[in-house]
Symmetry: C2
Subunit: 199 residues, 2 copies
Amino acid sequence: MTEITNNSSNLSPAVERFILHWGDLGGQWGVNRSVAQIHALLYLSEHPQTAEDIAETLGLARSNVSNSIKELMGWKLIHRVPVMGDRRDHFAAETDIWEMVTRIAQGRKEREIDPAAEALRACMAEAETDTQISPVALKRLQEMLEFVETINRWYTQMLNVPKPALVTLIKMGSKVTTLLSPITRRGGKKDRETANQDA
Amino acid sequence: MTEITNNSSNLSPAVERFILHWGDLGGQWGVNRSVAQIHALLYLSEHPQTAEDIAETLGLARSNVSNSIKELMGWKLIHRVPVMGDRRDHFAAETDIWEMVTRIAQGRKEREIDPAAEALRACMAEAETDTQISPVALKRLQEMLEFVETINRWYTQMLNVPKPALVTLIKMGSKVTTLLSPITRRGGKKDRETANQDA
DNA sequence: CCGTTGTTTCTGTCTCTACAGAAATAACGG
DNA sequence: CCGTTATTTCTGTAGAGACAGAAACAACGG
């Protein structure tokens, strides 16, 4: 009878609100709502939850939860937690935000950036044997490829910076440029060679 | 009769390929395919194009092109180019990639990050008056909020770094941490106050 | 002031994805 | 080896967004 009560689960208002927000915030990024909501729930949960707990709490189909969990595990944002005397799987989220973000960034790189770069390289390869392409287009493609490669290198390197250093770096914000200005000022193009020596 | 000929327009193979790739690459990000394709076309075009040129070249409906153009203008990725003796609007794309990316980043911040941060602040406000929220959840929310604020500050500052400096910075990659290590090493938490003095 | 040309808004259709529920599979205990 | 419980895969459906085409609107020239 009372089938309409979707979210009657005992969540405190603020938590529920966060889950809702996080849910459709995920929608704007590439993640679907269920996945984001489940992640939000686990992130705020004191204890590991079973798939069924989650399904009930969020009013989602059990199968949906199963698939979403699989995806979250793929991103390494949640992990299994074995519980004594319970056959069911329990799940908990990564709670260190910086770690979490790193994992997401890593995943996006592998699934989106790398393939995109690859496609672009293929384009360039074709462009070079393309007799009818305009010089302008060719130049633009080259610039684009160079840019993507540059960003790719940067991304990779940043992902490998130890977390504390990364945090410091981010918190410094634009101040880095101030500290680096003696270097920056040594001249534009030339610096590039120097900077890449270690790559 | 020959209605099936979608992409019969005289595009060189490499260009066409790029437009196609760029198109569904846009799909993975928030942009729809038409918009991304039009952008790609204009990016590679030697001369400004009219809306109709675009519609014909890409095989899109005129109305679709119109809307897409509007969106691209909203992102400031393309701009009108008046042409003598032609009443129609001609459009050209921003060709400086760094400028282009900055514009996109700016747009995404305004449309996605800022609202998200706002929503999160609202959550926190509610959480603080929430009697039944668990201490753990409250703590996690706080951490999340702090993180988002930090990233937001960083993002804002980075968008205001002059382009040459930004390019240098990116090209340095993780090398910044090496140069900064004497500072980084001065200790963790304390640095944050110092680093933010200028914000 | 009317016709022509260009642009925008509106509306219906179609595709694609998220999702629920059912069916199938696997793991474990007795 | 069978029954029970947990999980995954499969299938149909509902909703959202992308898009085409039509209709409305605006601007300009003669």
